[in-house]
Amino acid sequence: MEFRYLPITEKDKREMLSTIGVQSTDELFADIPESVRCNGELNIKPPKNEYALTKELTQLASRNINIKAHTSFLGAGVYDHYIPSIVDHVISRSEFYTAYTPYQPEISQGELQAIFEFQTMICELTGMDVANSSMYDGGTALAEAVNLSAGQTKRQKVLVSKAIHPESLAVIHSYVKGPGLEIVEIDHVNGVTDMDQLESELDEDTASVVLQYPNFFGQIERLDRVRELVDQQKKTMMITSSNPLALGYLTPPGEFGADIVVGDAQVFGIPAQYGGPHCGYFATTKKLMRKVPGRLVGQTKDEEGRRGFVLTLQAREQHIRRDKATSNICSNQALNALAASVAMSSLGKQGVRKMSWMNIQKASYMKKQLEESGFEIAFTGAFFNEIVVKLNQDVDMVNRKLLEKGIIGGYNLSRDFPELSSHMLLAITEIRTKEEVDQFIKEVGDICG
């Protein structure tokens, strides 16, 4: 069998073995004790040629129902948006995707500058001073923010709204086991965090308060109220997780005095791809700059005074500080940060505002039409691009029938919120047309009628 990724010929091999001074490659493995060596081949399917493998995997892929061939109203943390064609063309430049972390600035200015630009764009959208080069995703970024707040304030209690993404909440619960923090979950009332409960739980042991803005139900949390409450406890930090597209139109958390803003830039140019890789971001204040997890790129000059960029403030990081590092993160999502940067550059300051605005407009249209058709909208507050509708039938059953009409329905909230049985979370992004929304309402009406 030939292997096109392996260039060493038999002749090469003989010459190389002779230089090394051995007879066979087996001698190079002689230090592996006999008792732990593999006998015989691994039990894996035999190698497959490029054409046959492509055919097989194309068929496998076609067994998935994709959100491009269907009309999807599924969001709940991962959104189907307009992706400019240019995005994939840029990230397919293999100087970007076949490089690693830019340790050698002289030959990595492209990646370093691209990250510096990404950091700037995230700062602009969130209203924060500093952003890092990316995190795995919004959920783990939020969990890192929680741990940072405890370390910074030397406090052990964190108040977390139940209206954040339930999978992010689950990740927080896993992450805080290391430092042994106490998580107090704050209920939601009418789709937003219960401010009275938040106020009563907030005390001098509270490291931080965690909300999502817009929250998991699409509702806009009253960050102004949260800030007032947090201010009553000197050191307590305010952490929000935010869909950065929403911040194209909504007042950014930075302007409400957030200490840390995290989220996922998947909305900018990154396909859903079954949940990953996406692109977490982490933004904070100047004060916390030296506590940030992950890579940071800074601007500097070379010996000739030319502008250039380097990885900086590395004394925070695991490869320098080892067990004293601020986080163990090493690899990040640089290529997806690049994709997000290209999408954000395409949109520009007008486009991001317009796209954000269109999401709210289209969701508002959906809400109005549903109400006019006699559906009950669960929550009454302001929202971004998601709304919750209460059906008179099981959501999974409704979704199965919708699929027969070519529609992927919304998220079944009863999976995470037993109190919200028969509640469907609908995402209406800029790519949904009036016609699609109208058809959805008609079909759901027929099913639930």
Partner: protein
């Protein structure tokens, strides 16, 4: 901005220029500002650049030419396994049926994706000799933390709350001690001996009833196989601890040896290294974790199960450490790794390690003539030299690395592992031809000559790159981490 500076995208911006094509606005307009309330409508616009599509394309194409990747040239960055990233992997990952599926679609709609994940888990279990694999962790360090949390849950499940320490060799990756800390353990160091292997006597000294685990990379970061692995396993196991395998160096032993057979209990892999998921300029990666049967109850949830009517997720996992990531891992990277493994098969994967080790030994033996080799024995997929001899001439390892840039190479990893003075850690990988290795060796030998006769040529390198050495001190002292528009 100096004249010769490459512009930032913000510096290309002109008001009202556009690079987007948004869908039609086709619904009646609502007064959303009233809905939101004044305090929640953004007052000032985010200063994103206003540029045309061609400007964007030229900008990023320009940046790409200012970047070195594996496709640009040799990249022997030790411990990172910078092998070729097959193009078919990229095509498969971009198939609509893989790239445009939503993680919250019901399982019956995505059986193709689940089958691929299930098959990949099985294959990785076979390659590592483990019983079960989770694909949830997003990268190697994330996998380390996941594995350690499982070890912690295992001990606590036995009512053993006193195992507070994780042992890591002095040659370990920085992520090992960092992950131990994040998982709530104290990291304890075990020394290496004069052969570059874990010092068994020191291991016996640091092991006790507080040992939760030993984290080990095998072959280790010096590229040497820990040949006393079975003895180490029994030292740890007899003390009630567990053995953790850092899969960063798995590229050396595919089909030759399996961590499971060596006595490891928990293993993480870096699919972006050994299994060609591209490195992406820093990520995304994928860090699956394999475990022996006794750890299965602790795996992150949900786990993927095969039922009579197809694949599904099982959330009823009372002993699970919980979720470590939203959704099910970096699926897109897992698709690439799967495509690679299916291209190579068992036969190909074994050849991968054979040639990775052959290439490393060949390069090491040729370089040994001019560079100090602290551990003179066959290496595995990588090896570590010391720039000690050159340092005596006033040429540091950093200078050698910078001089290599002039030859069009990405230098090896430098100053790591920390137990070797002026370390130069090279990993050629199996996808490089003999001609490439020879040219690289010639460059290294020439640099060694230059160190003797014209050291300033090396000390002042690089000479041919688009920028010269950066002022990193100022970058850290007065950090500029974002662009600010200069008001005119």
């Amino acid at each position: 901005m100096a004249n010769q500076d490459f512009p930032l995208i913000f510096e290309l911006s002109q008001e009202s220029r556009t690079g987007f094509s948004l869908p039609e606005f086709d619904v009646p307009e609502t007064n959303i500002d009233e809905q939101l309330g004044e305090a929640f409508v953004r007052e000032s616009e985010p200063e994103l650049p206003e540029v045309s599509e061609l400007q964007i394309m030229r900008h990023y194409t320009g940046l790409s030419t200012r970047n070195h990747g594996v496709d640009s040239g040799f990249y022997p960055l030790g411990s990172c396994t910078m092998k070729y990233n097959p193009k078919v992997n990229e095509d498969i990952a971009r198939l609509t049926g893989f790239s445009h599926i939503h993680p919250l679609q019901p399982a019956e709609q995505v059986q193709g994706a689940l089958e691929l994940m299930y098959d990949l888990q099985d294959i990785l279990a076979e390659i590592t000799g483990m019983d079960s694999v989770t694909l949830q962790p997003a990268a190697g360090a994330h996998g380390e933390w996941t594995g350690l949390m499982m070890i912690r849950a295992f001990h606590e499940g036995n009512g053993d709350f006193n195992r507070t320490k994780v042992i890591v060799p002095d040659s370990a990756h920085g992520t090992n001690p960092a992950s131990a800390t994040v998982a709530g353990f104290e990291a304890v160091t075990v020394k290496s001996n004069e052969k570059g292997l874990v010092d068994l006597e020191d291991l016996k000294r640091v092991v006790d009833e507080s040992t939760a685990a030993l984290m080990l990379t095998n072959p280790n970061t010096l590229g040497l196989f820990e040949e006393h692995i079975e003895e180490m396993a029994s030292i740890i196991h007899e003390a009630g601890g567990k053995l953790y395998y850092d899969g960063a160096n798995l590229n050396a032993i595919l089909g030759y040896a399996r961590p499971g057979d060596m006595g490891f209990d928990v293993v993480h892999l870096n699919l972006h290294k050994t299994f060609t998921g591209p490195h992406g300029g820093g990520g995304p990666g994928s860090g699956p974790v394999g475990v022996t049967a006794e750890f299965e109850p602790f795996l992150p949830k949900p786990i993927l199960v095969k039922r009579e009517d197809g694949f599904d997720f099982d959330y009823e996992r009372p002993k699970s450490i919980g979720r470590v990531k939203p959704y099910y891992g970096n699926f897109g990277i897992n698709v690439r790794a799967y495509t690679y493994i299916r291209t190579m098969g068992a036969e190909g994967l074994k050849k991968v390690s054979e040639y990775a080790v052959l290439n490393a030994n060949y390069m090491m033996r040729r370089l040994q003539k001019e560079y100090e080799l602290p551990f003179d024995q066959h290496c595995k997929h990588e090896f570590v030299l010391s720039g000690k001899l050159q340092k005596k001439l006033g040429v540091r390892t950093l200078d050698i690395a910078k001089r290599l840039l002039d030859f069009g190479y990405h230098p090896p990893t430098i100053y790591f592992p920390i137990n070797v003075e002026e370390a130069i850690m090279a990993e050629p990988t199996e996808t490089e031809s003999k001609e490439t290795l020879d040219s690289f060796v010639e460059a290294m030998l020439q640099i060694s000559e230059e160190a003797k006769h014209e050291p300033e040529k090396v000390q002042e390198a690089p000479h041919t790159t688009i920028v010269s050495r950066m002022d990193e001190t100022t970058a850290a002292r007065k950090p500029v981490l974002r662009y600010q528009k200069v008001e005119e």
